[in-house]
């Protein structure tokens, strides 16, 4: 009996130790600030007239320009989405996303991700031209939004972001002229989603899939579909 109590107490102590270390770690990094899509009027869509929300993102070849501050934070050399990777969009709305893609690139491992999936009309525009795929040999990153294993409404949107030429001259901000990619998708009910890049850009990590590829605030982030079509723009900025 005494052994039973002692053994249980030891197990309990272990659980507490894991809990304490875990919570303190979880709180050591503040959550990234959130970017909320701004709703501007209504748009007519294949699914009727819906609120129209807008988001603008960038993909940077390093972390000096993203959400990590001027010195690039803990991993200045990592590729990153910006201005943040914590996004929020309204439910039952048309969301139009504009991404400025500043990075160079190469051949994508999985050509499926060189095609456009899940957007309105299954197309996007690249520097004004409407396309449904780009050359798989010149991809910088992808923006791929998908659901978690939950029973919320499924959502899958994936667009390729074409690579900037290796020899493109740098502009005043130190980066080359970006490609501008625009696409729209329709949200359903509220829920939590994630997005990441599916082009293996985690240089130096196994199969280039680790590091920035699997790290939120770099090439991975969350999308919260909120219940109401809120109008506030870029809260918390």
């Amino acid at each position: 009996m005494r052994m039973l109590i002692g053994a249980s107490a030891t197990v309990l102590g272990g659980v507490v130790a894991v809990g304490v270390v875990g919570t303190s770690l979880a709180h050591s990094a503040p959550p990234p600030r959130q970017l909320r899509a701004s709703v501007q009027g209504v748009a007519s869509t294949p699914e009727g007239s819906l609120p129209h929300a807008f988001l603008t993102l960038q993909t940077w070849p390093d972390s000096m320009a993203g959400p990590h501050g001027k010195d690039g934070g803990a991993q200045p050399g990592w590729v990153t989405y910006g201005p943040t990777t914590n996004l929020s969009v309204p439910a039952h709305s048309l969301v139009t996303v504009t991404i400025q893609q500043y990075d160079t690139g190469e051949k994508i491992t999985n050509p499926y991700f060189a095609q456009v999936h899940g957007t309105v009309g299954n197309t996007m525009t690249v520097d004004g031209k409407t396309v449904n795929a780009v050359d798989p040999a010149h991809i910088g990153h992808t923006f791929t939004l998908h659901s978690l294993v939950t029973n919320q409404d499924p959502l899958f949107v994936s667009v390729p972001l074409p690579a900037v030429a290796d020899d493109a001259p740098a502009l005043a901000n130190g980066y080359p002229k970006p490609h501008t990619v625009t696409f729209s998708f329709i949200t359903k009910g509220p829920g939590n989603y994630v997005f990441q890049c599916e082009y293996p850009c985690g240089d130096g990590y196994y199969a280039k899939f680790g590091g920035p590829m699997s790290t939120q605030t770099y090439m991975e982030g969350t999308v919260t579909v909120t219940g109401t079509a809120a109008t506030a723009a870029a809260a918390g900025e």
């Binding site: 053994a7 659980v15 294993v149």
Partner: protein, 661 residues
């Protein structure tokens, strides 16, 4: 006890005058001096080094200097340099000083001092290993908690990378020392009939170096962690935060520590075996420990060199591994794996061979082919130096070498299989005396079969093309490191616990904990094989949703391991304090460590033993000897009898108090 030392100019100081300071040093003064010197180092280096600009790396240099100052300060404060210092002053240690250093009549304080008694050092290693496993295990639980659901973000991805790196290196350090440290120090000298290690002061130094390295390693938590994984591949490690400086200082200190321990244990086993203990009468465990530490002696300097290069890259811009500066990251991977592969055998050999030592005792049969076992060990040690590039098949380095390395790797399964056969042959036709230490043998046979065979898969170049960098690899090496290595060490602990603590380990609770952990272990890592085969990469904090089920299974298994290990830990701690008092030879074993009284006297033997036969002659006259009468209910045949000894006690009494270094 002796009154004369045979060495050195004997100044015969009165205790308390000569070396009065020495008598006040302990881990407390060590920490104080270490912290003070680290602070001074930090101040001075901050003030003197040029401020950061292109081409110099002030933060890294300051971190390196601070951590090294800590280590030096700690060693000075704990008294590591008292002997050499006194020798320089021409006042060598007196006999009383030596006895003080050996911890004579000091009670528990001797465990907190620079104590040279090998038994004290063994206990220090044991406690340190257990503490390291506790920390590494906590981190493992957090890793698995984070992976329980896809995109759970429990600890956040940056913290995840740091967790994986720290878990990896803490576990690697713990497993490297887990057998050679506690049992290699406490048991081995007695087992060969020696009074102490060949170099007792080096022995203490090797432990306190390890002790000094632990806070350095843990400081990485606060310096940005080790987000590269424990392999610290360049050029990632060139770019990593200052946590990497803590990592490399740890490795350098640990490298020195293992080198000292390796040289010491090897010398002891080669030079100090009892009279009559020829090599084929030397217990097999001695072979396991000696080959392990000797292999480490060759392997770890590679890692140290790699880390010194990294330190120069980071603090001075030396560009050893930075391609843009003319360096080569492949240099790093080669040095790393030149250490890395032999290292897995440094871990495995003593653990498996401890079980080879245990099995004859519980089957009352000689080891099945002693020579086969020695041959197997030799084959592993030899081949293990020529397989390292199987970790680099996919790195693009020297593709024509892939096939040769595949061959050497697959060859090594032959001597490994031989050890397996010896174990099976010894168990064959039991009857096995079912006590806790043998449980580890059964668990190992199962786990190591899985670990070994998946290793053969991975050694195959085309298979590795698909598996490389996946959770399949992680599952494979956990089956070997934990399923075989750690399991063997737990068996060794259960076996030698009565000799080391003077009490019996509670087998009921120990057994419950042990088997709970084994069950959880198989659930965890079979789950990990599954997700690995399905394509889940390792070192990735947010696995895709398609791997969710396998990951959840793994996480549940991991919690079962955690619960089992904690129960086992409790059984150990409780038995240590309150357990039943152990007789000198509870297992009726024949090796020498069981022939001395428990607790073992300071000098182990009043007269040195002479060995006239090997230690496995349990059935020499045709009939099996019975298990010790102390446990009649558990003996298979119900025959009473005493465990004989292969060693004939005193024949020629060697002079006592002979030169102890």
């Amino acid at each position: 006890m002796a009154t004369m030392t045979t060495q050195g100019p004997v100044a015969a100081p009165v205790p308390g005058t000569g070396g009065g300071l020495m008598r006040r040093l302990s881990v407390v003064t060590g920490v104080v001096v270490g912290v003070v010197l680290a602070f001074v180092g930090w101040l001075v280096s901050n003030a003197l080094l040029p401020s950061p600009q292109e081409g110099n790396h002030k933060t890294d240099a300051v971190t390196l200097i601070t951590l090294i100052c800590w280590a030096i300060g700690f060693l000075v404060g704990v008294g590591a340099f008292v002997g050499p210092f006194r020798w320089l002053l021409g006042r060598d240690l007196s006999h009383e000083d030596e006895e003080f250093l050996a911890g004579k009549d000091e009670g528990v304080w001797r465990y907190f001092r620079f104590t040279t008694d090998h038994k004290v050092v063994g206990m220090q290693y044991l406690v340190t290993t257990m503490a390291l496993f506790a920390v590494g295990g906590t981190l493992a639980m957090l890793i698995r908690t984070n992976l329980a659901r896809p995109n759970s973000e429990i600890v956040g991805p940056l913290a995840y990378n740091e967790l994986v790196g720290l878990h990896g290196i803490i576990m690697i350090i713990a497993t490297i020392i887990m057998v050679s440290g506690p049992f290699g120090n406490f048991i081995l000298p007695i087992m060969i009939g020696a009074r102490d290690m060949a170099f007792p002061r080096l022995n203490a130094l090797s432990y306190w170096l390890l002790f000094a390295a632990v806070p350095v390693l843990l400081s990485a938590f606060f310096l940005g962690g080790i987000p590269t994984g424990w392999s610290a591949y360049a050029p990632l490690s060139d770019q990593a935060p200052p946590g990497m400086d803590a990592f490399l200082v740890t490795i350098v200190i640990f490298g020195v520590s293992t080198a000292l321990a390796g040289a010491n244990i090897t010398t002891t086993a080669v030079r100090m075996r009892a009279r009559g203990m020829t090599w084929n009468r030397t217990p097999i465990f001695v072979f396991g420990v000696v080959t392990s530490v000797a292999l480490g002696l060759i392997a770890f300097p590679m890692f140290m060199v790699a880390m010194v290069g990294l330190a120069m890259d980071r603090s001075l811009g030396a560009n050893f591994y930075v391609a843009s500066g003319g360096g080569n990251p492949w240099l790093y991977s080669n040095l790393f794996w030149l250490m890395g592969h032999p290292e897995v055998y440094v871990i495995l050999l003593p653990a498996i061979i401890a079980l080879l030592e245990i099995t004859p005792v519980f089957t009352r049969k000689p080891l099945f082919s002693f020579n086969g076992a020695v041959l197997g060990i030799g084959g592993i040690v030899g081949l293990s130096l020529f397989v390292w590039a199987h970790h680099m098949y996919m790195a693009g380095w020297a593709p024509p070498l892939n096939a040769p390395f595949m061959v050497t790797t697959e060859l090594i399964s032959i001597p490994t299989g031989l050890l397996f056969l010896v174990l099976l042959g010894t168990l064959w036709r039991g009857p096995v005396w079912m006590r806790l230490p043998v449980m580890a043998v059964y668990a190992l046979l199962w786990n190591f079969t899985i670990g070994g065979i998946t290793g053969i898969y991975l050694s195959d170049v085309p298979v590795d093309q698909a598996m490389h960098g996946s959770m399949f690899v992680t599952a494979h090496f956990h089956y070997t490191l934990m399923g075989a290595g750690l399991t063997g060490a737990l068996g060794a602990l259960a076996y030698w616990f009565p000799k080391m603590t003077g009490r019996m380990l509670n087998e009921r609770w120990g057994g419950i904990g042990f088997w709970t952990a084994q069950l959880g272990f198989n659930v965890t890592f079979l789950g990990m094989f599954a997700v690995g085969l399905a394509g889940q990469p390792r070192r990735v904090s947010d696995p895709a949703a398609m791997f969710a089920t396998g990951n959840l299974v793994s996480t549940i298994g991991a919690y079962v391991i955690g619960i089992g290990m904690l129960i086992f830990l409790y059984a150990v701690l409780h038995s240590w304090r309150h357990g039943e008092l152990a007789p000198a030879n509870p297992w009726g074993a024949k090796t020498l460590e069981w022939q001395v009284p428990t607790p073992v006297p300071l000098e182990n033997f009043t007269v040195l033993p002479v060995v006239t036969s090997d230690f496995y002659g349990y059935s020499e006259n045709g009939s099996r000897e019975a298990h010790p009468a102390a446990e009649p209910a558990l003996t298979p045949a119900g025959v009473a009898g005493g465990g004989g000894s292969g060693a004939l006690p005193p024949e020629t009494a060697a002079p006592t108090g002979e030169g102890r270094d």
